[in-house]
Symmetry: C2
Subunit: 421 residues, 2 copies
């Protein structure tokens, strides 16, 4: 008989232990259920959770390994490590000049003519060496970790050539092997049509389908394929063509859909069995119903609307009512949403999407896990799952949206280890 | 001949040294002028700035004292220490339940009936001991400091009895003597009418005028007197009466004005020569002109509109055009705006008040100093002034609004000393 495992980490004195035990995904009213244990304790052995229970029961049933790290939560809240299911973290130059142009009333076209937009990040990425890009990306991951984020989805999409797209995905792969934050890689070659293909868009689509997707799949550099399915970028038919090819190549699907106009992106994502469709500010009622039926998660990005000073936010309440899997993300990127703070998105989810604190926490834990095909593996605190947890400097989980734009994270545990931040 | 002073602190390798040298206050287009020195250096002796210049000139002209602290800004931005000119930091219980009720569509009246609002903070403050209140207030000051704030205005106003108002002001006084953040104390006995005076409002006004103001002035516990001049709270005539008495007692004046409705609060503040009028979401054009003429600073609180999910923000652009002194603050308080992050208010100033990064930085430094009668003393980096400075983890000051809801502060210097945060 094997020895019972000894705890290498113990979190005790937890006022509200938010386990998220319960349905995966959380749909409708289930999003309000956080599986709270008051006066809780959590023990981990290695990178795995060993016990989650009332504090005294955890301490009664487990033995501490020598050198076991003991964390005092001081009566505060503990949640699963947060999951950010939509980020573009690999870029060099920031685009604050564009932000200021928008504040001063410049239009999208004027900014593009002044050299702004996604294509400016493409020009920049192509001429920046991997070492510089890696260092800047690492700094973003470090900052995410300080905000309690332990897993992210990370996209390419600023290369738009085979070589530069691979460069981004290789940076993600290499950082993934050394950085505490886990990354789920997504190929986003169809983020825009690059400058050199503006007059031959079909040739670029061919390049994505016949060269990029096969190489990315063959090298196993991405788990997902994503596309900017939008009016004037990749419209429905082009999107169907690219994403069908990606699916055949064995990639799972994500969509940037219906962000600026309602063109049926949500419907297409559902039709092709995408794991998620993201943005969805202008999704149609038919799109919502289709996504509910197909089990395609909606990743909502309220920070993007906020940071573009938009008036219209995604119809989160309608999606929750219709039974769509709703997740929340930062959309961290240099153009439309430069923030690593997933907790702040909880404030926006409350104020602008009218989600309660409990619903928003579901959306950045268990449902965010589903949006990156990790449902039941992360985003919950239960014995046997990955020991990713956040100790918060708050007494009640409802402080998270309310005490806004400050960092309430006290400690982060990643894969069973206390991360020094 | 006296010896030249030796530097006890040196900040070198500053990419953009934002001195704010220039007009005090900054009016209109002057708000765009930050007095930037590229490749700058800053030396301090004791709590005073010794030299501000190009890095090599500073290092060439000053001698370092033994043990001089040398800070490498790594090519980043340095600004004056930030000034938050409107806060309510002395409270115990947080009010996240009310926040959630608002998200779920509950009205102000329903929340008040459920025991919410300012009066709930009053009940709480009265029954909380000074030690607990001091510890909680100190924690807020610590957090402000991590966000680069070195001076705040701090109000009473959750006591609403002579004893409890004095208790708050004494906590501010005592913390002021031990905490790095400087506090300018404001008496806000006229924040609301307390429960026990709801049926005899005039008696409460008498109490404020004839008992509270004289004691506060006599004990020198406040430099300013503030009032919630608003429809249904203290309207124009009651406000004139109270504030005239405060002025006679030697207190300088501040107003909560025209936050919820346009009742002439801005005009009254100007008429009585108030140093500032704050909120001003619904200020009239006449009010703006009157404030420009009287030199009454406008302290705008975009976080309050944000955190109440309001649609209407103060008319900042009109005020700037009309020559009003415009400052920005958090309004840090447990009800309508629970945040210690003044940098985040810069993001809101950009996105919602349409202020450029430069204008917003003027509004939290030199103009914020004017809003608390400290113009020319703090909020600028010039030889002879107080050595309060922030070293930022950004290369361009325009990143401040753009890279939102995260903490970009790298180091804080308060009174010439590097604060460990």
């Amino acid at each position: 008989m094997s020895q019972p495992k000894k705890a290498t980490l113990l979190i005790k004195n937890i006022g509200q232990l938010i386990t998220m035990a319960g349905p995966v995904p959380r749909l409708g009213d289930q999003m309000k259920e956080l599986g709270i244990i008051e006066d809780g304790g959590l023990a981990a052995a290695g990178d795995e959770i060993l016990a989650v229970d009332k504090s005294d029961r955890v301490e009664g049933q487990i033995e501490l390994a020598e050198g076991c790290e003991v964390v005092d939560a001081k009566g505060g809240v503990v949640t699963p490590g947060l999951i950010d299911p939509h980020t573009h973290p690999v870029f060099s130059r920031t685009r604050e000049a564009e932000f200021e142009m928008r504040i001063q009333g410049k239009s999208y076209m004027e900014i593009a003519e002044a050299g702004g937009g996604i294509r400016s990040s493409v020009r920049d990425l192509r001429q920046t060496d991997s070492e510089t890009l890696t260092a800047k990306t690492k700094k973003r991951l470090d900052r995410m970790l300080t905000y309690g984020v332990t897993t992210i989805e990370a996209k390419s999409g600023y290369g738009l050539s085979t070589e530069s797209e691979l460069k981004q995905l290789e940076i993600i792969r290499d950082l993934n092997s050394i950085h505490p934050v886990d990354m789920v890689p997504t190929f986003l070659g169809a983020h825009e049509v690059p400058d050199e293909y503006r007059d031959k868009r079909d040739d670029y689509i061919d390049l994505v389908i016949n060269e990029m997707i096969p190489i990315v799949a063959e090298k196993k550099l991405a788990e997902f394929c994503d596309i900017f399915c939008e009016k004037g970028v990749f419209e429905i038919e082009a999107s169907r063509k690219i994403m069908t090819a990606a699916k055949k190549a064995g990639l799972k699907l994500k969509f940037h859909a219906d962000e600026l106009a309602s063109i049926g992106g949500g419907e297409l994502a559902a039709e092709l069995g995408a794991v998620s469709a993201d943005h969805l500010v202008y999704i149609s009622d038919a799109g919502i119903k289709a996504m509910a039926k197909s089990g395609t998660a909606a990743v909502l990005l309220p920070g993007t609307t906020f940071s573009l000073a938009g008036k219209q936010y995604a119809p989160a309440r309608k999606m929750i009512e219709e039974g769509v899997i709703v997740a929340i993300s930062t959309d961290c990127n240099p153009g439309s949403s430069h923030s690593e703070s997933l907790p702040f998105m909880v404030s926006l989810a409350a104020l602008q999407l009218r989600m309660t604190a409990a619903e928003a926490i579901s959306a950045i834990t268990v449902n965010a896990a589903c949006a990156i095909s990790r449902g039941g593996k992360i985003g919950q605190l239960m014995a046997g799952l990955k020991a990713d947890a956040v100790v918060w400097d708050m007494q009640d989980y409802r402080e998270l949206p309310y005490h806004y734009a400050v960092n309430l994270v006290s400690k982060v545990v990643k894969s069973g280890k206390l991360v020094k931040i």
